[in-house]
């Protein structure tokens, strides 16, 4: 379902806003803030007064429950052990895109970072920075989507915060989530535990999230059925751990894509990786879009993909566990860790030749000439 954009015509300032697609949400709740009263976010909604409290007590509480919205913070019971703690801000544009929305990203992105620590994600915080003028309906759709995403991933949104910035000082909505989770991996999951001989597993094709966004970007727009791969990975990771897989290292592939993630790990671990290009899945549509713009899919963002470094002898059983999950259906072993300690990532291709992977300077820019 492609995201739609509408142009606001009332006011002279040029601007497009994100209109949520009419997605059916699980609970089908109506927006609890009467839309004809206050159809848009005002600065007053962040002013600490009655309007802010109304927003919190109705809209946020309707989605996340009153526990998450009433106090200075949440209080959670913890057992002796290790706690994973992470944060990410989400600044995606448009807010709704094929295959997802900022709310899902914000929940699953942080869930995934916790999973990458070998943890079971438990509670999330949600910090909203809303731009004055944001439609209340949009906010409601996003908040509902977050709650739904949290339910799917089995986490609770435990505490939150809302700020409103003046129009022209934000971009509709930014969301920060932080998350805590109980570490269940018996050994540390860390680049430092990567060992020569480890198999490098990847849970699916790459480049979908980034290209799903590019296709709706001003100036580069094209039509396609590309949908973001965004998905929670915690279920799959948990089963890997519970299945006895000794996860040496995990890393979700977000900004910078597969290549950047592997280069990072190679540098941190001071080990070299040899990858098989033909094992790395890229859908036809993602490849077509990359060809058109001169992008390399290995550097394109993902939101439901990770690499797992496991002992070679566990590679097969790990793949079997991964493939039981929707998000790991096309899991593959894409390479191995070499003896060489130079922190290099080499890609072996079908021609029998090689190239090195490195980080790009910044975002990929479309090439034309």
């Amino acid at each position: 379902m492609p995201a739609r954009r509408i142009t606001v015509t009332v006011i002279h300032k040029e601007r497009t806003v994100d209109k949520p697609p009419h997605r059916k949400l699980a609970d089908g709740l109506q927006c609890p803030v009467p839309l004809n009263d206050i159809p848009q976010i005002l600065l007053s909604h962040g002013g600490g007064g009655r309007l802010m409290h109304q927003l919190i007590d109705t809209l946020f509480a309707a989605a996340f429950g009153t526990q998450a919205t009433q106090h200075d913070g949440a209080v959670l019971p913890v057992n002796e052990g290790e706690l994973a703690f992470t944060t990410d801000s989400y600044v995606v544009h448009p807010l709704f895109f094929p295959g997802g929305d900022i709310g899902r990203l914000a929940v699953w992105g942080t869930v995934n970072d916790l999973a990458m620590c070998g943890a079971v994600p438990q509670s999330l915080s949600a910090g909203f920075i809303l731009e004055e003028g944001l439609s209340m309906e949009t906010l409601w759709q996003v908040v509902q989507s977050m709650q739904q995403a949290a339910e799917i991933a089995g986490v609770r949104i435990a505490t939150g915060d809302t700020k409103v910035v003046e129009r022209g000082k934000g971009d509709g909505m930014f969301i920060n989530t932080a998350g805590v989770g109980r570490v269940i991996a018996p050994q540390p999951v860390s680049p430092r535990r990567v060992r020569p001989g480890d198999a490098i597993l990847l849970n699916g094709d790459v480049g979908r999230h980034g290209m799903a966004l590019v296709q709706v970007r001003e100036g580069l727009r094209f039509e396609s059925a590309i949908e973001s791969d965004c998905a929670p990975l915690n279920g799959m990771v948990r089963e890997l751990i519970e299945g006895g897989i000794d996860l040496h290292c995990l890393r979700d592939l977000t900004r910078g894509g597969l290549a950047t993630a592997l280069v990072e790990i190679a540098k941190t671990s001071s080990l070299s990786f040899a990858l098989e290009e033909t094992k790395i899945g890229v859908t036809d549509a993602v490849r077509g879009a990359c060809e058109l713009l001169g992008f390399d899919p290995l550097y394109v963002a993902n939101e439901g993909r990770c690499v797992a470094f496991v002992p070679e002898k566990q590679a097969e059983s790990a793949l079997q566990i991964m493939r039981r999950h929707e998000t790991g259906r096309n899991a593959a072993c894409i390479g191995t860790v070499e003896m060489e300690a130079r922190g290099r990532v080499t890609l072996h291709n079908a021609f029998g030749t090689t190239r090195l992977l490195d980080m790009l300077s910044g975002d990929q820019l479309p090439r034309i000439c």
Partner: protein, 361 residues
Amino acid sequence: MKFLDEFRDPEAARRLADALHKTVTRPWRIMEVCGGQTHSIVKHGIDQLLPESITLVHGPGCPVCVTPVELIDRAIDIAQQPGVILCSFGDMMRVPGSDRDLLSVKAAGGDVRMVYSPMDAVQLAEEKSERQVVFFAVGFETTAPANAMAVHQAKLRGLTNFSMLVSQVLVPPAVESILQSEQHRINGFLLAGHVCTVMGFTEYEPIAERYRVPLVVTGFEPVDILHGLYLCVRQLESGRAEVENQYTRSVTRTGNRPAQELIQKVFHVVPRAWRGIGEIPASGLSLTPEYEAFDAERRFGVTPASVEQNGDCISGRILLGLDKPTDCPAFGARCTPEKPLGATMVSTEGACSAYYRYRHS
């Protein structure tokens, strides 16, 4: 702060309250004309200090409250036009027009800015020569000197991108209009000290005489107000009906001459509609021909349809001293500061707002 703290002295207030208790023998209904005084009374609970037989009613002295919806809609229209910066005092930002307020125009992308002085708008116009800067000039006589100077300076500086949407109203005609109403039961008035600072109080002398009503020029601090009430009750009890000046530290009989001069040069008196009350003859100011090039209504030629006041709202009766906010069935229920039905609820100086804020729970 000097000249403020002294007039908030609880001891002085107690003495004045005692004096009032000792002086009063009959029920008196006294209107403080000014919204600032209403606010002060309700905030400090001055009415709680008064003898039961004194009833305070709240007058039309909040320029934000009495600005007609049509004019607010006009300001909103202008604020939505490309290239315009609409400047306004903070007070005006949340006052609802017929379907929105200036804050929502801003939220939707209009360039609406809050200023502290009309001169800030003039300066903005100088800085942003490519934009049209419109100042929404709401006010009573107190604000007229500032607004007059803004227009005058804009002319001196040759600005072609500054204009003013004028909603200047005058107090004496409003007081007289209340006194002309058959329903009014008001025995005395506290006059607005800052209006008289600018205009003096000679205009009220014929009113005192014609309607046989005491009028006391009064300041804004609790002690001032109690003092004004005391002077008013003393007149009432002794059968006098004069203009008396409590606020001598700022007000003289003839007011501020230099200010009056510029006001007369820039503005002339016109009939004006008051929200909730209707048209009052000779109760508003409009730009004189010399300055009419700065009239936003000329520049933007918006002609809004006439808009009905919300049917349930009795703010007109409140402004005339006929009812109190708590007499309104909508008060605190369907009408709150977040969703006001009438301007007396939304302006911080409106009587309904003051009651809601300091009394409602």
